[in-house]
């Protein structure tokens, strides 16, 4: 997955400035940065929920040029390959947990319903919610809801999973249940791109760190160097220390 020369403006504000990024397969890429830096917009670009004004997007053999009009067919095809997990879960409230998970496979991939249910049950097992198939989203805690959202994304068998601040709405105890699932996925070499404010988690899970500020990439490399207390970049050192409460 690769982005080249991506530019995006909302009104007068340039939120992404000439972004060039590589997202390796089988690895976890973590995007960090202050609020409003453009990291969520960047992630949403990968799922085409945001369409930049210009730039190129390569996904395996598919190439998109944002300067031209992207056809609905291209959009839909690419979205199936990039599962999205949102900060506020966005589970479908009218459907049960199982209904949420099989919605994509049966409606988009046109999978057989029995087959989709079997896969869904395996996924629920994986995220530790095997007993919740018939529950409605409103009956779940935030941590459970987010794990269902992860299972829903996985059910589409995407090449890449994109997670937009998946634990920001959760209190620490519930957050842990979600982080465990994500660490397990990372161990299984599931390709992921995660936007997070949790630096401890970022350090633990990242194969690659991207630091975004004011719509620009200030760092793109290994987590070891990024979290090195002697990182030559003063701005990054300040950011990390403020996020890990070291200043207090």
């Amino acid at each position: 997955m690769k982005l080249t020369n991506i530019n995006k403006t909302f009104g007068n504000k340039k939120v992404l400035k000439n972004i060039n990024l590589d997202f390796p397969t089988g690895k976890t890429t973590v995007l960090v940065g202050p609020s409003g830096s453009g990291k969520s917009t960047l992630l949403r670009t990968l799922n085409l929920l945001v369409t930049p004004e210009c730039g190129q997007y390569e996904f395996e053999k598919q190439k998109l040029d944002f300067a031209k009009k992207i056809s609905n067919k291209e959009k839909i095809f690419l979205r199936q390959k990039t599962g999205m997990v949102f900060q506020d879960y966005n589970l479908f409230p009218t459907k049960t947990v199982l209904g949420n998970i099989i919605e994509g496979p049966t409606q988009v991939l046109k999978e057989d319903k029995t087959h989709a249910i079997t896969t869904a049950q395996q996924l629920l097992q994986k995220v530790g919610l095997a007993d919740y198939a018939t529950a409605y989203p409103h009956e779940l805690s935030g941590g459970q809801a987010q794990r269902v959202a992860i299972a829903r994304a996985l059910a589409m068998k995407p090449k890449y999973i994109l997670l937009d601040e998946p634990t920001s709405a959760l209190d620490p105890e519930l957050e842990l249940s979600v982080l465990k699932v994500l660490l397990q996925l990372a161990r299984e070499k599931q390709s992921m791109a995660i936007v997070t404010h949790n630096m401890v988690f970022a350090k633990k899970i990242a194969d690659k760190i991207i630091f975004v500020e004011n719509g620009e990439i200030l760092y793109d490399g290994s987590p070891t160097e990024f979290f090195d207390p002697n990182n030559p970049n003063q701005r990054i050192r300040n950011f990390i220390s403020s996020m890990t409460l070291e200043d207090l």
């Binding site: 799922n47 839909i76 979205r79 949102f86 009218t94 988009v108």
Partner: protein, 231 residues
């Protein structure tokens, strides 16, 4: 008195089942379809020539909400026969009373219900659209599978209101020669000189019809409430 009641109620009920209920149900059905289309057109953010279509639908809603239903019925039934255009309608548009009723009630209901549906669709969080799109669903599929079931719950009470109003408003069809329930009660009153009794009876039957609808609404609300938190 019982004799009069015994002989008149079946006639009123027969008219109710033959005209009042079909008028209400058919008009509501077409009205809802029209309302959904109107709401969707007015919600789209498409620009360019599409703006004209949006404008036409907005004009339609304005027209039917700002004029009395009785006047609308009169224009469609008594007025349109004089709407003559050479080549297209050389003899004007002459409609059967029932057809004129269905058309007017559908258009009227559609205008009101479109606002209800528009508000209900807007009330569904944007994240629900995102979630549908993110898994590769088209706009139409997301609307149908994800958004409308949620909007339905919000729209249910105001739509029930519209339907109940419509059932009662069909009594206006008496004025365009449809022999529905109220027209029958008028006729009976003229025959037996019991206007108080006849109009009270017909009022009771309307109340009975709408009470059934109220129960139906409660039942549907009960079903759609299972996916929201109990208050």
């Amino acid at each position: 008195m019982w004799k009069i009641i015994e002989s008149s109620v079946p006639q009123m009920l027969a008219a109710g089942f033959k005209y009042t209920i079909p008028l209400a149900i058919i008009s509501f059905f077409f009205g809802l379809i029209l309302a959904l289309i109107t709401a969707l057109v007015r919600l789209t953010r498409k620009k360019g020539p599409f703006r004209i279509i949006k404008w036409i639908f907005s004009f339609y809603v304005w027209l039917f909400r700002s004029t009395p239903l009785l006047v609308q019925l009169f224009i469609v039934f008594f007025g349109l026969p004089y709407f003559k255009i050479k080549g297209i309608f050389p003899n004007g548009i002459k409609l059967e009373p029932f057809t004129a009723g269905i058309i007017t009630f559908s258009l009227n209901t559609g205008a009101y219900a479109s606002e209800t549906i528009r508000a209900a669709i807007s009330s569904v969080p944007k994240g629900q659209w995102d979630a549908g799109f993110a898994m590769g669903m088209s706009k139409l599929k997301t609307l149908w599978r994800i958004i409308l079931p949620q909007a339905f719950r919000v729209a249910l009470p105001p739509l029930s209101n519209s339907f109940i109003s419509l059932v009662k408003d069909t009594s206006l069809a008496a004025s365009i020669t449809i022999m529905e329930m109220f027209a029958v009660s008028q006729q009976l009153a003229a025959e037996n000189y019991q206007p108080l009794l006849m109009y009270s009876l017909v009022a009771l039957i309307y109340a009975a019809f709408t009470t059934v609808l109220t129960f139906l609404q409660k039942y549907l609300e009960h079903i759609t409430d299972r996916y929201v938190k109990a208050n």
